[in-house]
């Protein structure tokens, strides 16, 4: 039986004038339609690179080895032309910064319609009506009136909704969301998370949600994958991870989360040795985690 997505022993590293940097060190993961997986890790854990590699978005000087099979077809090593066929139609992606994803000089209506005219060959009027119903689907009110507005005329949360619309417009089987709410206010974040959840249950698509915040992961996922230093240290059902975390790093993450503590004295900072911020000179990952735990 072909899984929707099957990643086997994925390894990604970057060669620069300063040496070799391992971003992903042997990750294996699989999912089916309807799964909602949260990839949780700190900056430098490799979670973003992992997400991007699923769409073949890791450019030189990065090197990708191993296997990523989407619906049976191998993604690693595919030509740009083939990958373009998968992007949007098979797998859609939403990025952290909504401003990056939208071209400021075109109206959002035209950007959304472009998806339909270019990828599906629809006529302009068909594309327009599809675009408007897509905008409604992601919760933009008075979509027909706002069709001609420009990105800067929308708030941050609205722009992110539009980016989500662009990612799901072609009805992909998987949606990858890379920290889509990190830059947003708390109330706006709640709305976006609700939107993603409802879209997922409506369409049954698979969801991979990359985040550094366990609390957010809990709201959105059925399974959690914890990443540390390029490897998966624990994965399992969401509630299992919260009730019975097995790996020391997972436990450390929980102990350090402000929402878990009663007083600031309860907070247990993750020791510097564990911090994997890729920009740090001190405290880059030293030891590999002792065991990999799956439940």
């Amino acid at each position: 039986m072909t899984r929707l997505l099957e990643i086997s022993d994925l390894r990604i590293f970057f060669e620069s004038g300063f040496g070799k940097v391992d971003a992903v060190r042997g990750v294996s993961l699989s999912m089916d339609m309807g799964d909602a997986i949260a990839v949780v890790g700190a900056s430098g854990s490799g979670k973003t690179v992992l997400g991007r590699s699923m769409l073949g978005l890791v450019d030189a000087p990065g090197v990708v080895q191993g296997s990523i099979r989407f619906d049976g077809t191998e993604i690693v090593g595919r030509s740009e032309k083939d990958l373009r066929g998968i992007r949007g139609l098979g797998i859609g992606m939403v990025f952290q910064d909504a401003l990056d994803g939208l071209n400021p000089v075109y109206s959002i209506g035209s950007q959304l319609s472009e998806i339909f005219t270019v990828r599906l060959g629809l006529s302009r009027s068909q594309a327009k009506s599809q675009a408007i119903s897509l905008m409604e689907q992601v919760g933009i009110r008075r979509a027909d009136e706002r069709y001609n507005d420009y990105p800067h005329q929308f708030s941050g949360g609205m722009r992110q909704r539009i980016c989500i619309a662009m990612a799901i417009g072609l009805k992909p089987k998987i949606l990858i969301a890379d920290e889509p709410t990190t830059a947003l206010d708390v109330t706006v974040q709640a709305g976006i998370l609700r939107l993603i959840k409802s879209l997922q249950s409506e369409t049954g698509m698979g969801l991979i949600f990359v985040t550094h915040d366990l609390a957010v992961a809990r709201m959105i996922s059925t399974r959690i994958v914890v990443m540390y230093a390029g490897q998966i240290v624990e994965q399992g059902l969401t509630e299992e991870i919260f009730l019975r975390p097995k790996h020391p790093y997972t436990r450390a993450l929980l102990a350090a989360h402000p929402a878990r503590a009663r007083s600031w004295r309860d907070l247990e900072p993750i020791p510097d040795a564990f911090v994997t911020d890729s920009s740090s000179g001190e405290g880059t990952s030293h030891s590999s985690p002792q065991m990999v735990v799956t439940s």
Binding site: A215, A259, R262
Partner: protein, 270 residues
């Protein structure tokens, strides 16, 4: 909760009717009201949290308190003297007692300076606080207070992680022995897993030095851990203010309730 005992002494800071607008011309108030008639007081050792989302005016409030922006009206009494009406030179001198830690650890440190240079810069601007000969020792001491090892003093910002940079920013803010720290979203730009580090440092410092904090944040679960008092800010006004537990357990304002309901909560398991 913050169980550090903040005894009642006379308020360190008393803000009355602070108002700041934008879009005005020639000194007249403009149409955009960012800070609308804000009043509060702050005692030594106390942590006041100002909670709001973007656009609430909280950052403008911080800058107006420090006279980085000129207020339209109101007063900011520090130890009885109104900072807003002091002559510039005198204000420069008072600045050492009210320091600020900014949100973005990647932007608030000058990229071409070492940690030692960053921390000693306040001493160059305010000569007389620490003699040149004593500076290296003070730098080591400050780094120790923020849990950073001594050898960090020769590092450049790009060699450090976000959490480390933010701790350097805190060390720098302490260089002039301030009495009040204004913390503008001090951990929002950091991964959740790193926030604990910085929060612990901040709270330990508060206890040890009896500092007063104005802690600006949009993160409610975090605020609950660190604040004695909370003021919820929306569109320039404090829509609700009071002791932390009261505001959290019995919010009276609609906006406060919405904020509370939106925070992802992962407390209370099994």
């Amino acid at each position: 909760m913050n169980d550090h005992k903040a005894e009642f002494k006379s308020p360190l800071l008393e803000v009355q009717g602070l108002r700041k607008t934008f879009g005005g011309r020639g000194g007249k108030p403009g149409p955009i009201v960012a800070v609308d008639d804000i009043s509060f007081s702050l005692n030594p050792g106390e942590c006041l949290a100002v909670v709001g989302e973007s656009g609430s005016g909280k950052s403008t409030l911080a800058r107006t308190l420090l006279r980085l922006l000129d207020a339209d009206s109101g007063s900011v009494l520090y130890e009885g003297r109104d900072l807003l009406s002091l002559p510039r030179a005198e204000m420069q001198r008072q600045r050492r007692y009210l320091q600020m830690v900014f949100q973005d650890p990647y932007a608030s440190l000058h990229p071409r300076r070492t940690v030692a240079q960053l921390i000693s810069e306040p001493w160059e601007i305010h000569p007389g606080v620490v003699e040149k000969s004593g500076r290296p020792a003070r730098i080591d001491a400050l780094l120790a207070e923020v849990n950073l090892p001594k050898h960090f003093s020769s590092y450049y910002p790009n060699q450090m992680s976000g959490g480390q940079r933010q701790r350097v920013a805190i060390a720098r803010a302490l260089a002039l022995e301030p009495k009040i720290l204004i913390l503008d979203e001090p951990v929002s730009a950091l991964d959740v897993s790193v926030q604990a580090q910085v929060i612990k440092v901040l709270m330990t410092l508060q206890e040890r030095r009896d500092l007063a904090y104005i802690f600006i944040s949009h993160d409610l679960p975090l605020v609950r851990l660190v604040a004695h008092k909370v003021a919820v800010m929306n569109r320039g006004r404090f829509v609700e203010a009071g002791p932390t537990d009261t505001v959290f357990d019995n919010p009276s304002d609609e906006y406060t309730r919405t904020l509370l309901a939106s925070s992802p909560a992962i407390a209370e398991d099994a």
